[in-house]
Symmetry: C2
Subunit: 336 residues, 2 copies
């Protein structure tokens, strides 16, 4: 149990997730001395669905991924992934070192056949009150056209199976809508997707369409995907802080005005909260033979609970199996 805070956040979050889902069982991988006290005074019903799996070390958040992976034996992250590999767990949720998690997960669980490299994916709410599947968010800074096509296939499956969108629209992030725009890999991926009947490819989108719902699947390389997601988060945080400061500055409002403002602020915050990084936490590492969810390192209890729920959803919808099945239909197998 890593992350910026460790068990003091992840254990209470786990208990919350157990309380709201009676069918859930959780294996808590980490140092028993740190976990055990946090389970004290909980109901027997909850603790009966928890098992502590001892692991004596944790991969540091600032460790270099390559070195961390070489020295990963006995760490909580590796132990958790081993549980998925051996079928003792159906999913792994981690708030730890992102690079180490991606590398170790790929090493231990292997990519689905037909997927060169896994991608980080999230599902964002959009302006149409729907959902948009966005990937890659930073697993791969350089992407070939083939990888972008694989992301499009994986995103389509998630949009159908998790977001329940029939024939989801797929678009590639670019810096203009004209065919001649952008980088070679994007134009080549566009050419392939246009010829792929099983994908509902609609063309290019620009960054301003991230939240508008113009597309159901928003495909990009990991660098641009990280930039667009982080920019979105930053702009929302700035606006939320403007809302707060605009209230603090007000001097001597009448009590009625104060009440009215409080009520309105609550309404506005509720709308913004949908897009608040604390709420939609949990990026899925997509394309592996197993389910791995990456939580923000700085996730609070509610956010880490959201990441656990993402994992449950992926298990319920059998996302890896469905991706493998779709790849068999959509993409030519390299060994045939």
């Amino acid at each position: 149990m890593g992350g910026d805070v460790g068990p003091r956040v992840t254990v209470p979050a786990a208990l919350q997730a157990l309380a709201s889902n009676p069918a859930l069982k959780l294996l808590l991988v980490g140092q028993p001395d740190a976990i055990q006290p946090l389970l004290a005074q909980q109901s027997a019903e909850l603790t009966s669905r928890v098992e502590i799996i001892p692991a004596q070390s944790v991969i540091a958040n600032d460790a270099k991924p390559s070195a961390a992976i070489r020295q990963s034996k006995g760490t909580s992250m590796r132990t958790a992934l081993e549980l998925v590999k051996t079928g003792q767990a159906q999913a792994c949720v981690s708030a730890g070192n992102t690079g180490a998690l991606m590398g170790l997960a790929k090493l231990m669980l292997k990519s689905i056949e037909g997927i060169e490299r896994p991608a980080l994916m999230t599902i964002l709410p959009n302006q149409q009150k729907g959902q948009t599947v966005v990937l890659d968010l930073g697993a791969n800074v350089i992407c070939s056209s083939e990888m972008l096509v694989q992301f499009a296939v994986m995103g389509s499956v998630v949009a159908e199976e998790v977001a329940k969108i029939a024939s989801p629209r797929v678009a590639l992030l670019n810096i203009g809508e004209e065919e001649s725009k952008g980088l070679d890999n994007i134009r080549e991926a566009a050419a392939i997707l246009k010829e792929t009947a099983a994908i509902n490819y609609i063309g290019y989108v620009e960054g301003n369409e991230l939240l508008t719902g113009k597309t159901d699947v928003f495909v990009c390389d990991g660098f641009s995907g990280n930039v667009t997601l982080k920019t979105m988060e930053g702009v929302i945080r700035v606006i939320l802080s403007l809302l707060k400061s605009s209230e603090e500055k007000q001097t001597k409002p009448s009590w009625l005005m104060k009440l009215a403002k409080k009520w309105l602020k609550k309404r506005l915050m509720k709308r913004f909260e949908e897009l608040n990084p604390d709420q939609y936490n949990g990026a899925t590492l997509l394309g592996l033979n197993g389910i791995v969810i990456k939580s923000h390192g700085a996730a609070n209890e509610g956010a880490f609970k959201a990441a656990i729920e993402r994992a449950v959803q992926a298990v319920d919808r059998q996302v890896p199996d469905r991706i493998a099945a779709r790849l068999n239909i959509v993409l030519p197998r390299s060994d045939q």
Copy 2:
């Protein structure tokens, strides 16, 4: 006079700019028949500072830049750039085809010595009530490390001369703050900037820092820069539209509540408007021997006026000369 609408927006915007700046003179380049009627019934004082320069054709917004440039003779865009080249005008402002403008401007005005390729730059307001210089916004989808360093130099000059920031902090956009993150060109640029005493280089920033004021100069390749700016615009538009819809839905509010909401919305809108694409319009094509400002194609009168004011500011601050002078100090000359 191109753009999505043409003279019907740009001429009234020009008249507004003239009215608010008694020292300004404007050459309106385009079809006299389209411009002349829009100047009727204006005061002699205003029209005495306007001259119509006839140009019989306009480059279409959707024209392919390479073809448009080949066939640019006699177009309003080329004529306007010729006026800058010959010194008859001190700056060119265009709402026309971005690719054609960049290509033609480079062809006719040439890059400043030491600049491989010009970059699109804008100045955004930030959370600290300061300003952030952001470049490249899309002129160069692929950038070498040298180009990123040149952008850093140009951005520093603009931050000092236009935004009046002493020793401006310069950062490179990346997907993490650790030195090992990102793409080769970014890491190489970081290594050069660290050794460049004349630049106050502070390291990497992520997309979420675009508006926080953590850096004064935000340097990125044109693809990522376009993605981060467009994402910002999109998120702000979505939030503004949420604010509007949250008001419409409210049924039967008391008159006091209605008043409070109106007041708060006005306050909020004022804060957001600072970041509204209609307000900060006008990207500068930086690195040329001349001043060229690109307005949004869809700019309204106020926004196009803002672009004209950007041009005036760049003229006042002698931006190209100062960039050339700084390059002589900072960067080794290739011919020495």
